[in-house]
Symmetry: C2
């Protein structure tokens, strides 16, 4: 969903907008060398800056009462402080590393939109493998007053990105470069410089690949207590009442190559016998605060649109409490199971807690802090 070009809303006349007929249209050919664009910009070709962006932001809010042309023009400063801030993510591969890292960092600015009434918009550009495209994107970033993060395996592309950003006054951060340099120095070897899709890169159909596929397929087949006879084959077994997040957690962990089974605990229904034959250190019991679970179940009920009686049986406070008590009793009878509180936790967080406990098997006496180790 791009800020730009959301059509169907007439654009107000905009003297600095390059697409307006009143100013000469700037040619943005993908073939145009980035240096000539840089020169053009520095020599005074006007960039369509804030106002362009502000109008676009207005266009997105279709429900907002229509302002008069004059109001818009006079309220430029107000509007500017409430407009969205753009962050460009540029990658010559999938772009997931840039997205993941910037997402994590944005967690440090959660109050931004609340306190400023503003928003942050990320724009991910993946598979950017030639200099012309790179230059075009960074030019556009300058126009939108965006900042750029990039993950470019090809060192010459990374250098170009840095230079272009510097020349056009775009704040930029190289995410991958310092990590690659660190590893190169540590291993004493040079990086390949090959992008993800490059022919020279090692192919991915190795044992780890097949193991991961198998884990995902196993996990899907095991979902929601199906095939209890296979519980012994799972690496990890999750138990918990309905809406504690067993399914999303299972698939998340499965992506990391673990076979996960999950068993729902339902009030008054005895869990399958095979669950108690599983090695206790593999079983993770999910618990959650009563009121939070009730709220989640109410949301669920709304989505499903079920009748009132069914709703009460599912999200009525007394019944939710009884079901949680029922689960707690079974947890208490199995002290070898780790009990994890999932209240207000994101899937990634609970997964990290489980992974840490799963790998903390007490064999590592070198530090008192558990570690998850992998070999490459």
């Amino acid at each position: 969903m791009s800020l730009h070009g959301v059509s169907g809303h007439p654009e107000p006349p905009n003297p600095t907008d390059s697409s307006s007929p009143s100013t000469p249209k700037m040619k943005i050919s993908p073939k145009l060398n980035r240096w000539s664009m840089g020169r053009a910009l520095r020599s005074g070709v006007k960039l369509d800056r804030p106002i362009h962006r502000i109008y676009n932001t207005h266009c997105r809010q279709a429900s907002e009462p229509k302002q008069k042309e004059d109001d818009k023009k006079t309220s430029t400063i107000d509007v500017e402080t409430t407009a969205g801030k753009s962050i460009y993510l540029i990658s010559d591969g999938t772009g997931w590393t840039a997205e993941h890292s910037v997402n994590a960092a944005l967690g440090q600015f959660e109050d931004f939109s609340v306190n400023r009434g503003s928003s942050v918009n990320t724009h991910l550009f993946s598979w950017v493998e030639d200099e012309d495209k790179l230059a075009e994107i960074i030019k556009q970033a300058a126009k939108e007053e965006a900042m750029c993060f990039y993950t470019l395996a090809n060192p010459s592309m990374a250098k170009s990105a840095k230079q272009a950003c510097d020349q056009w006054g775009v704040l930029s951060v190289d995410i991958l470069g310092p990590i690659i340099e660190g590893i190169a120095s540590h291993l004493g070897v040079s990086p390949s410089g090959l992008t993800r899709g490059a022919p020279g890169r090692v192919k991915t159909l190795n044992d780890a690949y097949f193991k991961r596929i198998e884990a995902i397929e196993f996990t899907i087949k095991q979902d929601d207590g199906t095939l209890p006879e296979n519980l012994s084959k799972a690496d990890i077994v999750l138990v918990g009442v309905s809406r504690t997040g067993k399914t999303p957690l299972s698939t998340y962990i499965a992506q990391k190559g673990y076979k996960v089974a999950n068993v729902p605990f339902v009030m008054g229904v005895e869990p399958p016998r095979t669950l108690f034959e599983v090695e206790p250190r593999k079983v993770f019991a999910l618990k959650i605060q009563l009121v939070v679970l009730q709220a989640i179940r109410r949301t669920r009920v709304k989505t499903l649109g079920v009748d009132t009686e069914a709703e009460n049986n599912y999200s009525g406070i007394d019944l939710v409490r009884k079901e949680l008590d029922f689960a707690s009793r079974i947890y208490a009878e199995n002290p070898g199971w780790a009990v994890i509180d999932v209240t207000n936790k994101a899937i990634e967080e609970t997964a990290a807690v489980i992974m840490r406990l799963y790998h903390d098997d007490g064999r590592d006496s070198s530090t008192s802090v558990p570690r998850i180790s992998k070999r490459y």
Copy 2:
């Protein structure tokens, strides 16, 4: 699986090993202030460095023929070059950002283990939220001659990590710091400095959370062509013959909040009518090279342990070819479907290609390069 403390193998005598009775044992109390440890190290307390690590590496290779004590001592240099290199990942949150970024960077060193007969071992330490634990881990990194990557939201922890690594001669890279600084400068606001589990952090049970859960649950229910009547509700529909990776791809994309359905194409079986009623731009048709598919199916057959006739029907070259031709014909009849080659591609790569096409709806005319935009 840590290199250290793999018990059950008698350790050879080691003059520089601190656990050996011949040298005074170094006290590693979690309470011991990291600065006093630093001072102790600098003032000449010997660290149990390479030899310790090499012996442990030997211990792990149980199948390796036993060397005599003397051989080991004289072959120190050889052994050292073939020993594993350790990378520590330290986080005060889940650690997934560190793992993801370093994993991506390691893709630049794929030849390392092949050409050097060596391996890289990563060790992830998550939820490291106090200075004592941090100091203990970095001290251990110095012992193992590891390098450290860290993602520490708390600025005072990040500073301590840097100082401790510098003092103990551990190469270190701050992954999150430069990204947070960049965003802070761009938005003109200070980061919260709160770790993921901190009470002040915004809770995660928002609309996006529920949307994601719903997407994952939808995707699992739709897997493998079940419920064709629901295809119209999917954001994305994947089609392809068996073993083109539809299931892992579906769950991977679902984690990003998209409802994915997949429909297997089986030789001679007409796909469900509802598939052809789905908006073509939502349908992604997977293709794969014949020989690669055959190899994957052979691996699959081995795992399942099915009989020879079934094997021939599934992985025999003629039948695989016919099935691929059957799928290709249907693809050709539906020119609105994007055809994606998954040959030798990792799940993440194919997902990135699909995401890019899915979001490239031609509405964004600001650049010729498609973008995936998100609002925070």
